[in-house]
Amino acid sequence: MTRILASIGAAVLSSLAALGRFVLFALGTVSHLFRPPFYPKELGHSLLQIGYFSLPVVGLTAIFTGGALALQIYAGGARFNAEAVVPQIVAIGMVRELGPVLVGLMIAARVTSSVAAEIATMKVTEQIDALVTLSTHPMKYLTLPRVLAATLVMPVLVGIGDIIGIMGGYLVGTQRLGFNGATYLQNTIDFLEPLDVTSSLVKGAVFGFIAALMGCYYGMNSGRGAMGVGRATKNSVVMAAILILASNFLLTEAFFSA
Protein backbone atom coordinates (compact mmCIF):
# COMPACT_ATOMS: atom_id res chain seq x y z
CA MET A 1 0.00 0.00 0.00
CA THR A 2 2.71 2.50 0.97
CA ARG A 3 4.59 1.39 -2.12
CA ILE A 4 1.67 2.34 -4.32
CA LEU A 5 1.28 5.68 -2.56
CA ALA A 6 5.00 6.32 -2.85
CA SER A 7 5.00 5.65 -6.57
CA ILE A 8 1.94 7.87 -7.06
CA GLY A 9 3.70 10.57 -5.05
CA ALA A 10 6.85 10.22 -7.12
CA ALA A 11 4.85 10.49 -10.34
CA VAL A 12 3.06 13.62 -9.10
CA LEU A 13 6.34 15.19 -8.02
CA SER A 14 8.05 14.45 -11.31
CA SER A 15 5.11 15.88 -13.31
CA LEU A 16 5.21 19.02 -11.20
CA ALA A 17 8.95 19.27 -11.76
CA ALA A 18 8.43 18.85 -15.51
CA LEU A 19 5.71 21.51 -15.47
CA GLY A 20 8.11 23.82 -13.62
CA ARG A 21 10.78 23.26 -16.28
CA PHE A 22 8.25 24.02 -19.05
CA VAL A 23 7.26 27.26 -17.29
CA LEU A 24 10.91 28.32 -16.92
CA PHE A 25 11.55 27.45 -20.56
CA ALA A 26 8.46 29.43 -21.60
CA LEU A 27 9.51 32.46 -19.55
CA GLY A 28 13.01 32.26 -21.00
CA THR A 29 11.55 32.16 -24.50
CA VAL A 30 9.17 35.06 -23.94
CA SER A 31 11.91 37.18 -22.35
CA HIS A 32 13.78 37.16 -25.68
CA LEU A 33 10.78 38.88 -27.25
CA PHE A 34 11.99 42.11 -25.68
CA ARG A 35 15.75 41.74 -26.09
CA PRO A 36 17.46 42.27 -29.45
CA PRO A 37 18.87 41.01 -31.71
CA PHE A 38 15.81 39.70 -33.54
CA TYR A 39 15.73 37.33 -36.47
CA PRO A 40 12.78 38.39 -38.66
CA LYS A 41 13.83 36.05 -41.46
CA GLU A 42 13.58 33.06 -39.14
CA LEU A 43 10.15 34.25 -38.03
CA GLY A 44 9.01 34.56 -41.64
CA HIS A 45 10.27 31.07 -42.39
CA SER A 46 8.42 29.67 -39.36
CA LEU A 47 5.20 31.47 -40.25
CA LEU A 48 5.33 29.85 -43.66
CA GLN A 49 6.22 26.38 -42.35
CA ILE A 50 3.81 26.33 -39.43
CA GLY A 51 0.99 28.40 -40.90
CA TYR A 52 0.74 28.17 -44.63
CA PHE A 53 1.89 24.59 -45.05
CA SER A 54 -0.53 23.38 -42.36
CA LEU A 55 -3.56 24.59 -44.29
CA PRO A 56 -4.27 21.31 -46.16
CA VAL A 57 -4.13 19.29 -42.95
CA VAL A 58 -6.36 21.75 -41.13
CA GLY A 59 -8.85 21.89 -44.00
CA LEU A 60 -9.17 18.12 -44.33
CA THR A 61 -9.47 17.60 -40.58
CA ALA A 62 -12.17 20.24 -40.29
CA ILE A 63 -14.32 19.27 -43.25
CA PHE A 64 -14.60 15.60 -42.30
CA THR A 65 -15.24 16.45 -38.66
CA GLY A 66 -17.96 18.98 -39.51
CA GLY A 67 -19.60 16.46 -41.82
CA ALA A 68 -19.56 13.65 -39.27
CA LEU A 69 -20.83 16.00 -36.60
CA ALA A 70 -23.85 16.93 -38.73
CA LEU A 71 -24.70 13.25 -39.30
CA GLN A 72 -24.46 12.44 -35.58
CA ILE A 73 -26.48 15.43 -34.44
CA TYR A 74 -29.14 14.63 -36.99
CA ALA A 75 -29.32 11.00 -35.86
CA GLY A 76 -29.27 11.94 -32.18
CA GLY A 77 -31.67 14.84 -32.62
CA ALA A 78 -34.14 12.63 -34.48
CA ARG A 79 -34.87 10.77 -31.24
CA PHE A 80 -36.28 13.97 -29.76
CA ASN A 81 -37.77 15.33 -32.95
CA ALA A 82 -35.00 17.93 -32.83
CA GLU A 83 -33.36 17.35 -36.23
CA ALA A 84 -33.61 21.06 -36.94
CA VAL A 85 -30.88 21.98 -34.47
CA VAL A 86 -28.11 20.56 -36.70
CA PRO A 87 -26.78 23.94 -37.93
CA GLN A 88 -26.69 25.45 -34.46
CA ILE A 89 -25.02 22.49 -32.74
CA VAL A 90 -22.52 21.99 -35.54
CA ALA A 91 -21.57 25.66 -35.25
CA ILE A 92 -21.23 25.55 -31.48
CA GLY A 93 -19.42 22.20 -31.47
CA MET A 94 -16.96 23.21 -34.15
CA VAL A 95 -16.22 26.72 -32.97
CA ARG A 96 -16.13 26.15 -29.23
CA GLU A 97 -14.43 22.76 -29.02
CA LEU A 98 -13.70 20.60 -32.02
CA GLY A 99 -12.17 23.28 -34.22
CA PRO A 100 -9.50 24.45 -31.79
CA VAL A 101 -8.87 21.02 -30.24
CA LEU A 102 -8.56 19.05 -33.46
CA VAL A 103 -6.52 21.73 -35.19
CA GLY A 104 -4.37 21.89 -32.06
CA LEU A 105 -3.82 18.14 -32.09
CA MET A 106 -3.06 18.12 -35.81
CA ILE A 107 -0.52 20.89 -35.24
CA ALA A 108 0.97 18.85 -32.41
CA ALA A 109 1.35 15.97 -34.84
CA ARG A 110 2.68 18.04 -37.70
CA VAL A 111 4.58 20.93 -36.14
CA THR A 112 5.63 19.72 -32.68
CA SER A 113 7.13 16.55 -34.11
CA SER A 114 9.06 18.27 -36.86
CA VAL A 115 10.31 21.06 -34.59
CA ALA A 116 11.43 18.54 -31.97
CA ALA A 117 13.15 16.29 -34.51
CA GLU A 118 14.86 19.21 -36.23
CA ILE A 119 16.16 20.84 -33.07
CA ALA A 120 17.12 17.51 -31.49
CA THR A 121 19.12 16.61 -34.60
CA MET A 122 20.81 20.00 -34.44
CA LYS A 123 21.65 19.32 -30.83
CA VAL A 124 22.98 15.83 -31.50
CA THR A 125 25.15 17.01 -34.41
CA GLU A 126 26.60 19.90 -32.36
CA GLN A 127 24.81 22.52 -34.47
CA ILE A 128 23.41 24.12 -31.31
CA ASP A 129 26.94 24.34 -29.88
CA ALA A 130 28.07 25.82 -33.18
CA LEU A 131 25.32 28.45 -32.97
CA VAL A 132 26.48 29.44 -29.50
CA THR A 133 30.11 29.76 -30.55
CA LEU A 134 28.96 31.94 -33.46
CA SER A 135 27.49 34.32 -30.85
CA THR A 136 23.91 33.41 -31.68
CA HIS A 137 21.53 32.54 -28.88
CA PRO A 138 19.66 29.31 -29.73
CA MET A 139 16.57 30.51 -27.85
CA LYS A 140 16.46 33.67 -29.95
CA TYR A 141 17.36 32.04 -33.23
CA LEU A 142 15.47 28.74 -32.97
CA THR A 143 12.89 28.78 -30.18
CA LEU A 144 11.41 32.27 -30.23
CA PRO A 145 10.65 32.42 -33.97
CA ARG A 146 8.89 29.05 -33.86
CA VAL A 147 6.89 29.74 -30.71
CA LEU A 148 5.95 33.24 -31.82
CA ALA A 149 4.97 32.06 -35.29
CA ALA A 150 2.79 29.25 -33.92
CA THR A 151 1.09 31.57 -31.43
CA LEU A 152 0.34 34.18 -34.09
CA VAL A 153 -0.74 31.83 -36.84
CA MET A 154 -2.79 29.28 -34.90
CA PRO A 155 -5.79 31.59 -34.33
CA VAL A 156 -5.90 32.06 -38.10
CA LEU A 157 -5.68 28.31 -38.69
CA VAL A 158 -8.38 27.65 -36.11
CA GLY A 159 -10.59 30.35 -37.62
CA ILE A 160 -10.21 28.75 -41.03
CA GLY A 161 -10.80 25.31 -39.48
CA ASP A 162 -14.00 26.56 -37.85
CA ILE A 163 -15.32 27.91 -41.13
CA ILE A 164 -14.40 24.80 -43.11
CA GLY A 165 -15.89 22.59 -40.37
CA ILE A 166 -19.15 24.50 -40.59
CA MET A 167 -19.01 24.15 -44.37
CA GLY A 168 -18.58 20.40 -43.90
CA GLY A 169 -21.74 20.36 -41.82
CA TYR A 170 -23.45 22.54 -44.38
CA LEU A 171 -22.53 20.19 -47.24
CA VAL A 172 -23.80 17.12 -45.41
CA GLY A 173 -26.84 19.05 -44.18
CA THR A 174 -27.86 20.28 -47.60
CA GLN A 175 -26.78 17.30 -49.72
CA ARG A 176 -27.74 14.41 -47.44
CA LEU A 177 -30.12 15.62 -44.79
CA GLY A 178 -32.36 17.86 -46.84
CA PHE A 179 -31.66 21.23 -45.21
CA ASN A 180 -32.23 24.39 -47.13
CA GLY A 181 -28.86 26.07 -47.79
CA ALA A 182 -29.86 29.64 -47.00
CA THR A 183 -31.65 28.74 -43.76
CA TYR A 184 -28.77 26.56 -42.67
CA LEU A 185 -26.33 29.42 -42.96
CA GLN A 186 -28.74 31.94 -41.43
CA ASN A 187 -29.27 29.67 -38.41
CA THR A 188 -25.53 29.27 -37.99
CA ILE A 189 -24.84 33.01 -38.11
CA ASP A 190 -27.75 33.92 -35.83
CA PHE A 191 -26.78 31.38 -33.25
CA LEU A 192 -23.04 32.02 -32.86
CA GLU A 193 -22.10 34.57 -30.20
CA PRO A 194 -18.99 36.73 -30.33
CA LEU A 195 -17.72 34.90 -27.22
CA ASP A 196 -17.81 31.59 -29.12
CA VAL A 197 -15.50 32.98 -31.75
CA THR A 198 -13.24 34.78 -29.27
CA SER A 199 -12.80 31.65 -27.18
CA SER A 200 -12.00 29.64 -30.29
CA LEU A 201 -9.25 32.01 -31.38
CA VAL A 202 -7.81 32.37 -27.87
CA LYS A 203 -7.68 28.60 -27.58
CA GLY A 204 -5.90 28.52 -30.92
CA ALA A 205 -3.21 30.91 -29.71
CA VAL A 206 -2.68 28.96 -26.48
CA PHE A 207 -2.50 25.61 -28.28
CA GLY A 208 -0.08 27.03 -30.85
CA PHE A 209 2.15 28.30 -28.05
CA ILE A 210 2.08 24.91 -26.33
CA ALA A 211 2.69 22.92 -29.51
CA ALA A 212 5.76 24.89 -30.60
CA LEU A 213 7.10 25.23 -27.06
CA MET A 214 7.01 21.48 -26.47
CA GLY A 215 8.77 20.82 -29.76
CA CYS A 216 11.54 23.25 -28.87
CA TYR A 217 11.81 22.11 -25.25
CA TYR A 218 12.20 18.42 -26.03
CA GLY A 219 14.46 19.19 -28.98
CA MET A 220 16.80 21.35 -26.92
CA ASN A 221 16.90 18.75 -24.15
CA SER A 222 17.34 15.77 -26.44
CA GLY A 223 19.58 12.88 -25.46
CA ARG A 224 22.47 11.74 -27.61
CA GLY A 225 22.30 9.80 -30.85
CA ALA A 226 19.43 8.72 -33.07
CA MET A 227 17.67 7.23 -30.06
CA GLY A 228 17.78 10.59 -28.30
CA VAL A 229 16.13 12.26 -31.29
CA GLY A 230 13.45 9.58 -31.48
CA ARG A 231 12.63 9.85 -27.82
CA ALA A 232 12.56 13.66 -27.89
CA THR A 233 10.15 13.62 -30.83
CA LYS A 234 7.80 11.10 -29.26
CA ASN A 235 7.76 12.79 -25.87
CA SER A 236 7.18 16.23 -27.36
CA VAL A 237 4.10 15.11 -29.29
CA VAL A 238 2.61 13.20 -26.37
CA MET A 239 3.20 16.07 -23.96
CA ALA A 240 1.89 18.69 -26.39
CA ALA A 241 -1.31 16.68 -26.93
CA ILE A 242 -1.87 16.21 -23.20
CA LEU A 243 -1.23 19.86 -22.39
CA ILE A 244 -3.49 20.98 -25.23
CA LEU A 245 -6.36 18.80 -23.96
CA ALA A 246 -5.82 19.85 -20.35
CA SER A 247 -5.60 23.55 -21.14
CA ASN A 248 -8.67 23.19 -23.36
CA PHE A 249 -10.61 22.00 -20.34
CA LEU A 250 -9.37 24.91 -18.25
CA LEU A 251 -10.14 27.44 -20.97
CA THR A 252 -13.63 26.04 -21.53
CA GLU A 253 -14.16 26.26 -17.80
CA ALA A 254 -12.94 29.87 -17.78
CA PHE A 255 -14.99 30.98 -20.79
CA PHE A 256 -18.26 29.12 -20.41
CA SER A 257 -18.93 28.04 -16.83
CA ALA A 258 -21.36 30.63 -15.63
Binding site: A130, T133, L134
Partner: protein, 248 residues
Protein backbone atom coordinates in the same frame (compact mmCIF):
# COMPACT_ATOMS: atom_id res chain seq x y z
CA UNK B 1 47.09 33.22 -23.24
CA UNK B 2 44.76 30.47 -22.09
CA UNK B 3 45.27 28.66 -18.81
CA UNK B 4 43.42 25.75 -17.29
CA UNK B 5 44.05 24.82 -13.70
CA UNK B 6 42.79 21.72 -12.01
CA UNK B 7 39.75 21.37 -14.33
CA UNK B 8 37.46 18.44 -13.58
CA UNK B 9 34.49 17.17 -15.55
CA UNK B 10 32.48 13.99 -15.07
CA UNK B 11 29.36 12.63 -16.78
CA UNK B 12 27.70 10.53 -14.11
CA UNK B 13 30.47 8.20 -12.92
CA UNK B 14 32.45 8.63 -16.13
CA UNK B 15 35.21 10.94 -14.84
CA UNK B 16 36.46 12.39 -18.10
CA UNK B 17 38.71 15.25 -16.95
CA UNK B 18 40.46 14.69 -13.62
CA UNK B 19 42.51 17.78 -12.98
CA UNK B 20 43.71 19.36 -16.21
CA UNK B 21 46.55 21.89 -15.97
CA UNK B 22 47.50 23.46 -19.26
CA UNK B 23 48.92 26.75 -20.50
CA UNK B 24 48.54 27.87 -24.10
CA UNK B 25 50.75 30.88 -24.87
CA UNK B 26 49.38 33.69 -27.05
CA UNK B 27 50.08 33.50 -30.77
CA UNK B 28 51.25 29.90 -30.72
CA UNK B 29 49.95 26.63 -32.02
CA UNK B 30 49.27 23.96 -29.43
CA UNK B 31 48.33 20.44 -30.42
CA UNK B 32 46.47 18.15 -28.05
CA UNK B 33 46.94 14.45 -28.70
CA UNK B 34 45.45 11.47 -26.91
CA UNK B 35 43.43 8.33 -27.53
CA UNK B 36 39.83 8.62 -28.69
CA UNK B 37 37.38 9.09 -25.85
CA UNK B 38 39.96 10.59 -23.52
CA UNK B 39 38.11 13.93 -23.35
CA UNK B 40 39.96 16.10 -25.85
CA UNK B 41 36.76 17.53 -27.32
CA UNK B 42 35.29 18.07 -23.87
CA UNK B 43 38.45 19.95 -22.90
CA UNK B 44 38.00 22.64 -25.56
CA UNK B 45 34.25 22.76 -25.00
CA UNK B 46 35.02 23.62 -21.38
CA UNK B 47 37.13 26.57 -22.48
CA UNK B 48 34.29 27.86 -24.67
CA UNK B 49 31.74 27.35 -21.90
CA UNK B 50 29.73 24.86 -23.99
CA UNK B 51 30.34 22.35 -21.23
CA UNK B 52 30.47 23.55 -17.66
CA UNK B 53 33.41 22.10 -15.73
CA UNK B 54 32.59 20.61 -12.31
CA UNK B 55 35.54 22.46 -10.77
CA UNK B 56 38.71 24.27 -11.70
CA UNK B 57 39.53 27.64 -13.20
CA UNK B 58 39.93 28.58 -16.87
CA UNK B 59 41.30 31.99 -17.82
CA UNK B 60 41.82 33.78 -21.10
CA UNK B 61 44.34 36.63 -20.95
CA UNK B 62 44.29 36.37 -17.19
CA UNK B 63 40.51 36.78 -16.81
CA UNK B 64 38.26 34.00 -15.54
CA UNK B 65 36.08 32.90 -18.49
CA UNK B 66 32.95 32.57 -16.36
CA UNK B 67 33.02 36.26 -15.43
CA UNK B 68 33.18 37.61 -19.00
CA UNK B 69 30.19 38.84 -21.00
CA UNK B 70 29.35 35.87 -23.25
CA UNK B 71 28.86 37.64 -26.57
CA UNK B 72 32.07 39.65 -26.51
CA UNK B 73 33.96 36.61 -25.23
CA UNK B 74 32.69 34.25 -27.94
CA UNK B 75 33.28 36.83 -30.67
CA UNK B 76 37.01 36.31 -30.11
CA UNK B 77 36.80 32.58 -30.88
CA UNK B 78 36.50 30.37 -33.91
CA UNK B 79 35.78 26.67 -33.59
CA UNK B 80 35.91 23.74 -35.97
CA UNK B 81 33.72 21.00 -34.52
CA UNK B 82 34.76 17.40 -34.84
CA UNK B 83 31.63 16.48 -36.80
CA UNK B 84 31.56 19.70 -38.82
CA UNK B 85 28.30 20.91 -37.26
CA UNK B 86 27.23 22.77 -40.39
CA UNK B 87 23.71 24.21 -40.43
CA UNK B 88 21.99 22.00 -42.96
CA UNK B 89 19.18 24.49 -43.57
CA UNK B 90 21.64 27.04 -44.97
CA UNK B 91 23.70 26.95 -48.17
CA UNK B 92 27.44 26.58 -47.80
CA UNK B 93 28.35 30.25 -48.20
CA UNK B 94 25.82 31.32 -45.56
CA UNK B 95 27.33 28.78 -43.20
CA UNK B 96 30.79 30.21 -43.77
CA UNK B 97 29.61 33.80 -43.49
CA UNK B 98 27.19 33.11 -40.62
CA UNK B 99 28.89 35.58 -38.30
CA UNK B 100 29.21 38.19 -41.02
CA UNK B 101 25.50 38.11 -41.81
CA UNK B 102 24.18 38.95 -38.34
CA UNK B 103 25.11 40.42 -34.98
CA UNK B 104 27.97 42.79 -34.18
CA UNK B 105 30.17 41.72 -37.12
CA UNK B 106 27.40 42.15 -39.69
CA UNK B 107 28.37 43.33 -43.21
CA UNK B 108 26.57 43.85 -46.50
CA UNK B 109 25.44 40.56 -48.01
CA UNK B 110 27.57 40.83 -51.15
CA UNK B 111 30.70 41.50 -49.13
CA UNK B 112 29.98 38.61 -46.74
CA UNK B 113 29.55 36.31 -49.72
CA UNK B 114 32.82 37.45 -51.22
CA UNK B 115 34.64 36.75 -47.96
CA UNK B 116 32.97 33.33 -47.76
CA UNK B 117 34.12 32.41 -51.25
CA UNK B 118 37.66 33.58 -50.46
CA UNK B 119 37.73 31.44 -47.29
CA UNK B 120 36.38 28.47 -49.24
CA UNK B 121 39.22 28.88 -51.70
CA UNK B 122 41.71 28.82 -48.83
CA UNK B 123 40.43 25.42 -47.70
CA UNK B 124 40.63 24.11 -51.25
CA UNK B 125 36.97 24.42 -52.28
CA UNK B 126 35.84 25.88 -55.60
CA UNK B 127 33.38 28.83 -55.72
CA UNK B 128 30.69 26.53 -57.17
CA UNK B 129 30.43 24.86 -53.78
CA UNK B 130 29.17 28.11 -52.23
CA UNK B 131 25.55 27.64 -53.30
CA UNK B 132 25.25 23.97 -52.46
CA UNK B 133 23.79 22.64 -49.24
CA UNK B 134 25.95 20.81 -46.68
CA UNK B 135 24.08 17.53 -47.18
CA UNK B 136 25.18 17.54 -50.83
CA UNK B 137 28.88 17.48 -49.90
CA UNK B 138 31.20 14.62 -48.95
CA UNK B 139 32.36 14.34 -45.33
CA UNK B 140 35.77 15.77 -46.13
CA UNK B 141 34.25 18.73 -47.98
CA UNK B 142 31.90 19.41 -45.05
CA UNK B 143 34.87 19.45 -42.72
CA UNK B 144 36.63 22.00 -44.88
CA UNK B 145 33.52 24.19 -45.09
CA UNK B 146 33.38 24.06 -41.33
CA UNK B 147 37.03 25.05 -41.19
CA UNK B 148 36.29 28.00 -43.47
CA UNK B 149 33.48 29.02 -41.12
CA UNK B 150 35.80 28.86 -38.12
CA UNK B 151 38.28 31.28 -39.69
CA UNK B 152 35.81 33.50 -41.57
CA UNK B 153 35.62 36.30 -39.03
CA UNK B 154 39.39 36.14 -38.38
CA UNK B 155 39.11 35.38 -34.68
CA UNK B 156 42.13 35.70 -32.40
CA UNK B 157 41.69 32.26 -30.84
CA UNK B 158 40.79 29.22 -32.93
CA UNK B 159 40.12 25.61 -31.93
CA UNK B 160 40.37 22.84 -34.50
CA UNK B 161 38.88 19.52 -33.46
CA UNK B 162 40.41 16.85 -35.70
CA UNK B 163 40.72 19.07 -38.79
CA UNK B 164 42.30 16.42 -41.04
CA UNK B 165 40.31 13.34 -40.03
CA UNK B 166 38.59 11.97 -43.12
CA UNK B 167 40.72 13.94 -45.60
CA UNK B 168 43.09 12.50 -48.19
CA UNK B 169 46.82 13.06 -47.55
CA UNK B 170 47.11 15.92 -50.02
CA UNK B 171 44.13 17.78 -48.60
CA UNK B 172 45.48 17.13 -45.11
CA UNK B 173 48.68 18.82 -46.19
CA UNK B 174 46.71 21.84 -47.48
CA UNK B 175 44.88 22.14 -44.17
CA UNK B 176 48.05 21.75 -42.10
CA UNK B 177 49.66 24.55 -44.09
CA UNK B 178 46.57 26.69 -43.66
CA UNK B 179 46.59 26.32 -39.88
CA UNK B 180 50.28 27.17 -39.80
CA UNK B 181 49.64 30.24 -41.98
CA UNK B 182 46.83 31.45 -39.75
CA UNK B 183 49.12 31.41 -36.74
CA UNK B 184 51.96 33.10 -38.64
CA UNK B 185 49.80 35.70 -40.45
CA UNK B 186 47.17 36.82 -37.98
CA UNK B 187 49.10 35.74 -34.92
CA UNK B 188 46.15 33.66 -33.79
CA UNK B 189 46.32 31.41 -30.76
CA UNK B 190 45.24 27.93 -31.77
CA UNK B 191 44.52 24.60 -30.14
CA UNK B 192 44.33 21.68 -32.54
CA UNK B 193 43.17 18.22 -31.62
CA UNK B 194 44.49 15.47 -33.82
CA UNK B 195 45.58 11.85 -33.97
CA UNK B 196 47.51 12.41 -37.13
CA UNK B 197 51.24 12.52 -36.31
CA UNK B 198 52.05 14.15 -39.66
CA UNK B 199 49.70 16.96 -38.69
CA UNK B 200 51.24 17.23 -35.25
CA UNK B 201 54.69 17.75 -36.73
CA UNK B 202 53.40 20.19 -39.33
CA UNK B 203 51.28 22.33 -37.02
CA UNK B 204 52.59 22.25 -33.47
CA UNK B 205 54.71 24.71 -31.56
CA UNK B 206 53.98 22.64 -28.51
CA UNK B 207 52.25 19.38 -27.84
CA UNK B 208 50.18 18.22 -24.88
CA UNK B 209 49.12 14.64 -24.40
CA UNK B 210 45.87 13.87 -22.61
CA UNK B 211 45.66 10.54 -20.84
CA UNK B 212 43.46 9.26 -18.01
CA UNK B 213 41.90 12.68 -17.46
CA UNK B 214 45.17 14.57 -17.04
CA UNK B 215 47.80 16.22 -19.18
CA UNK B 216 50.25 13.36 -19.18
CA UNK B 217 53.02 15.23 -20.95
CA UNK B 218 53.43 18.72 -22.44
CA UNK B 219 56.41 20.24 -24.18
CA UNK B 220 57.76 21.88 -27.32
CA UNK B 221 57.45 19.91 -30.54
CA UNK B 222 61.23 19.39 -30.62
CA UNK B 223 61.05 17.32 -27.44
CA UNK B 224 58.34 14.98 -28.73
CA UNK B 225 60.76 12.48 -30.22
CA UNK B 226 63.31 12.61 -27.45
CA UNK B 227 61.05 12.34 -24.40
CA UNK B 228 61.43 9.18 -22.35
CA UNK B 229 57.74 9.22 -21.31
CA UNK B 230 56.61 5.73 -22.26
CA UNK B 231 53.00 6.87 -22.92
CA UNK B 232 54.07 9.53 -25.41
CA UNK B 233 56.52 7.16 -27.09
CA UNK B 234 53.82 4.55 -27.53
CA UNK B 235 51.34 7.07 -28.93
CA UNK B 236 53.85 8.56 -31.35
CA UNK B 237 54.99 5.15 -32.60
CA UNK B 238 51.45 3.80 -32.73
CA UNK B 239 52.47 0.54 -31.13
CA UNK B 240 49.85 -1.69 -29.50
CA UNK B 241 52.51 -2.70 -26.93
CA UNK B 242 53.03 -0.28 -24.05
CA UNK B 243 51.46 1.27 -20.97
CA UNK B 244 48.35 2.64 -22.78
CA UNK B 245 45.59 0.07 -22.59
CA UNK B 246 44.02 -0.86 -25.90
CA UNK B 247 40.80 -1.92 -24.24
CA UNK B 248 38.78 1.19 -23.47
Amino acid sequence: MITLSNVHKAFGDNKVLRGIDLTVPKGTSTVVIGGSGTGKSILIKCILGLVEPDSGVITVDGVDVTTQPRDAFLARFGMLFQGGALFDSLPVWQNVAFRLLRGSLKRPKAEAREIAIEKLRRVGLAPEVADRFPAELSGGMQKRVSLARAIAAEPEIIFFDEPTTGLDPIMSGVINDLIREIVAEIGATTITITHDMTSVRAIADQVAMLHAGKIRWAGPIGDLDTTDDAYVRQFVSGSPEGPIETLR
